[in-house]
Symmetry: D3
Subunit: 246 residues, 6 copies
Amino acid sequence: MADILVFGAHPDDAEFGMGASMVKFARSGASIAVCVLTRGEAGTFGTAEQREAEMRAAAEKLGGELEILSYRDCQIFDTYEARIRLAEVVRKFRPRIIFAPYHTNHSYHKDGAAHPDHAATGTIVRSAARYARFSGLKDAAGEPWNAEHILYYMVPRTRKPTLLNDVTPFMGEWESIARCHTSQMSLRDGKVLEGLRRFREAYGNLLGVGYAEGFIVEEPLVFDLSLFMSSSSQPGGVAHRPAGTA
Amino acid sequence: MADILVFGAHPDDAEFGMGASMVKFARSGASIAVCVLTRGEAGTFGTAEQREAEMRAAAEKLGGELEILSYRDCQIFDTYEARIRLAEVVRKFRPRIIFAPYHTNHSYHKDGAAHPDHAATGTIVRSAARYARFSGLKDAAGEPWNAEHILYYMVPRTRKPTLLNDVTPFMGEWESIARCHTSQMSLRDGKVLEGLRRFREAYGNLLGVGYAEGFIVEEPLVFDLSLFMSSSSQPGGVAHRPAGTA
Amino acid sequence: MADILVFGAHPDDAEFGMGASMVKFARSGASIAVCVLTRGEAGTFGTAEQREAEMRAAAEKLGGELEILSYRDCQIFDTYEARIRLAEVVRKFRPRIIFAPYHTNHSYHKDGAAHPDHAATGTIVRSAARYARFSGLKDAAGEPWNAEHILYYMVPRTRKPTLLNDVTPFMGEWESIARCHTSQMSLRDGKVLEGLRRFREAYGNLLGVGYAEGFIVEEPLVFDLSLFMSSSSQPGGVAHRPAGTA
Amino acid sequence: MADILVFGAHPDDAEFGMGASMVKFARSGASIAVCVLTRGEAGTFGTAEQREAEMRAAAEKLGGELEILSYRDCQIFDTYEARIRLAEVVRKFRPRIIFAPYHTNHSYHKDGAAHPDHAATGTIVRSAARYARFSGLKDAAGEPWNAEHILYYMVPRTRKPTLLNDVTPFMGEWESIARCHTSQMSLRDGKVLEGLRRFREAYGNLLGVGYAEGFIVEEPLVFDLSLFMSSSSQPGGVAHRPAGTA
Amino acid sequence: MADILVFGAHPDDAEFGMGASMVKFARSGASIAVCVLTRGEAGTFGTAEQREAEMRAAAEKLGGELEILSYRDCQIFDTYEARIRLAEVVRKFRPRIIFAPYHTNHSYHKDGAAHPDHAATGTIVRSAARYARFSGLKDAAGEPWNAEHILYYMVPRTRKPTLLNDVTPFMGEWESIARCHTSQMSLRDGKVLEGLRRFREAYGNLLGVGYAEGFIVEEPLVFDLSLFMSSSSQPGGVAHRPAGTA
Amino acid sequence: MADILVFGAHPDDAEFGMGASMVKFARSGASIAVCVLTRGEAGTFGTAEQREAEMRAAAEKLGGELEILSYRDCQIFDTYEARIRLAEVVRKFRPRIIFAPYHTNHSYHKDGAAHPDHAATGTIVRSAARYARFSGLKDAAGEPWNAEHILYYMVPRTRKPTLLNDVTPFMGEWESIARCHTSQMSLRDGKVLEGLRRFREAYGNLLGVGYAEGFIVEEPLVFDLSLFMSSSSQPGGVAHRPAGTA
């Protein structure tokens, strides 16, 4: 059982992609499980064994459960078998919210976030969440479970996020967890965390806070007046911000 | 002062377009003001005087304030004067949330919701809300005010709403308020309310409730975990719904 | 041989999705064949045997031919084998018009119409119709056949239909045929037909008639002046319809 | 009275943009009126007087009525006055179908079809057709008239036309009418007609005929089975066409 | 005469929006003119006089010409007069390339870059560049001039830039020029330049360099093989970059 | 080793789709390799043997290398095996630029360019180019290679090309190479080359030259001032081009 179930294709996807939100959720009392489909053995740095140890360390630091599946790095495809396997994970953890990488990304081949494994994972999860609730689908072990929400992280650069999560107070703890993926710290000439921080700054800028993580929700959201009433409407005086400010 | 400020082009736009949400907001304790730009004198039924009386009756029943401007029906255009005038209304009511008809609608000429006055009103409001907070903008009377949120109603048919508001318990009170627009009850061969109800059923269907009203928000929303945690995830068993179900 | 060939993934897709149009076509003298890819055995209600009997009853009532393929529910994927198999069905019936569920639907996981089998069926049909006309494609049995048109039903909520078919006079007969799918009548707490009717009302509303079914055509249509000349242009007098009317 | 009313911004817009369709409509017995908003006096070639004479010659050859308004070339804007003036033209001719240049075109500044007057004309017509039916709109002279259809010509390059009109048999007569705009024949180094012909070839290619003109319709079209049944489905044998064929 | 003509609505738009590119262009020998439509007198900080002095200082530091027009801050609208006035500026400077703020931006009212003056300026420039080449358009003073290219800066957040300009070596000089707008340095709690730098970092990240500025071009670009041949293809070894990296 | 590597699904895809650009590249000194996935044996005309001979003749005439893979016509799917196989081709030729058919095309089933093999090839190449640079990906033979650019040909009709390549001087040589595909000359009633020429005329028209080929690039391009400075800005005098000109 977990309130929140986060799927990732590679060992660092969840922590690098939405790790500060995971910290924030955990610190607010939510239980979290992370399901990683591969051991990332096709990466430049780190063996399957090292990377498994790293993700275990990260999950422990977060305080979440970890489920590692046996897919091969660079070989994630949307098949019936994969939909069933992931539906079983959904049925096992019975989450309220499922997170997955966004299911569609046509970005150019140099964009790291557009790895085909990422989009494939999002595509499978979308069907697996549906299959998990079908009582007539006997191929999937476990009791049917209807998770109400799917939220997507790894927002493509050409999409505006639906939701921005202010993670400013959790950036320190996030960095400590992200550093568990020791083998990956040499990526981008050792500046991998700097890049990830800059990325959260840009979303924070959109929200008017220090750091934020972005998500796409494709379901219409339920209107909750309090979301808007508690906000920071206030006497004006702010001139139009300078042109070109992100 | 009002928590919520709803702009409409014609006397019935607010009540017909998002009236049940207005009832719901009011019943939850929010103060509401409605600002109507014209007296709807170019409509088929009702004189300017009748329609003014009708909107006053509706506002009274709702328990909201009413501000009637002096624009002419079918003559709403995005001008500097209009932006300033509406900014003054914003500065007067100092709302947390502003509602306006959606600012863009290319729908075909037979679609009632695509009246050019509607889109023009949304376009003006978008700039007026910005201008209202500029302390350097002396042409607009009143103290600068920075309303944090603009939400749009009158969602075009080709757009998916961002937010759906469950208004099922408020449909009775809504109908009673909508009926204040007596002169308009002959529209669509007397079936105007039936059409409006059917419209809310369709959005309710999307949300899994009886009746809902839809809104578009163009700002990324602030992530609030409780929105998703309080939801209805549950044991499954629901087969795939029949094809073609709305 | 059939003038019209309708593909569906599950036993009720064709009747629930565009059944009233099928009645209308049949009553105007067109011959119709329905090809169903699975027996819907993963649904909550009904066994494969029951559902096969139900679709046979529906086809008989409609007066159409029925071809049942051997794909498994929830396991429809776009493969070469499937393209060839469906091309053979096209070659067998030699239709003028092919109907299929729309091939792309990213809607959220709770939307029944967005079952992955539906989009997969549309995707396969799009290639199968092309393959059916290749005389060099020996893997597919039958004589090459070039069906001129593909029309899609199960229009995603975020798409505007290209064509609306007025089915008002055929709703009674449609309901009688839809009820042949007895095992599915418990869906949505027994309100499945009510939902399907409401869905047709919403499209009818767009067209100004009681009930309509919507279709997407991706080919540019041939201009036929009579389509527009026989229409209901008339003296005006209709005021702008109320805001928010669907 | 006219079955068909075509609006153009400049003297040659209607003939150059959809002239072969106008010939086809006229030869099938429809009555046609053309309303031109300006005399094209800001063009490189031809004075206002010459161009007026040219459009009169073209209208006579076509056998249609001609209404010339007094807007200035390069100065067409969407104003209340213009909406009312064009609504009066609609009320005068009481057409079944209205044609106008497409209302939105962000194409780059070198694209001739993207002249701001063209999009402005389409924008005004969209509102004018609506205003023409409002009986409460006393500013517009004439009896209210509800024209059922608006079709757009001058399809932007980035849009797929909704309808293609086979005009192959009418290209000769079209050219003869287009040549009435004598002053414009020096455009594009004298190759203006060649460009217009090539343009119709490209659309013809899409339809599988010699020459076609394209149109956008934004209203869902009424389904008419005969449109699809009379088509050219036939034994196959056509291999996949070569890649890159338009 | 100027190779490059940059239009801005407010005194700091050009420098804040694409200033580092202007430095780069100037340092490569191109002549630059900046045309500013208003004195920014509705801003929170700085009077019209101060801001005029600031933009003169910035232009001098850049080494470009400066043309200040007499439009009022917050009052820029697409009118015939404005198209003509800007066409005259085009005819005066006879540029090869025109830069303007992007012409369409529906972003929410809190996004500084989405000031209605910005989009209005882009819209006017698009028509003005066209009008400048019409020899028949006598209302605009000056000899007709056909500027081949319009490029847009102030790329909306929801659009991917077409072109990214590496400005890393010019950031120091850019900052020195941007600081000429002294009165605006208090914006965003004094962090205005930091925000603008972060913005360029994000685009630099896309390009794999330190800092970049983004542009939209709506004309298809001319293919130049050397653009691609001189690039950095090289032996691989770079693993997939971490998920979530911008 | 090759500067440029062009992937095609069928023997004639490269020559028919972007052959004149290949000639232009070759004549400017670039080395070119063409990799064809199938022998086109499912086409109406020509056996696998004939078509192989034809593509060899075309490659020889062009002066490029040719790599023929063993996929089956109509059976190209995005699999791990295919990604690896194509990555090996990338590693073998170590190109600076990769060309592939555009990866997404929902066009209707009668559009030759929308053959599912074409989009599948583009999809595979997009991943293969990425996989080719992963040093951790041992399944692919050869040394890792990071090709900097992917450009797409076979632009769908509903997309605007990013780049247009003026191929006017190379049309003669192109036709001579295209004619090497002798078996395909009977396509479209023998008018296949005429169709391909017309297609290039339409793009040429966009660029203001005789003939052009279009490409899509999904990566933001590097800004190069000289691209725009060498252009044809000039004294005006060109009136607005006639409406409807392509």
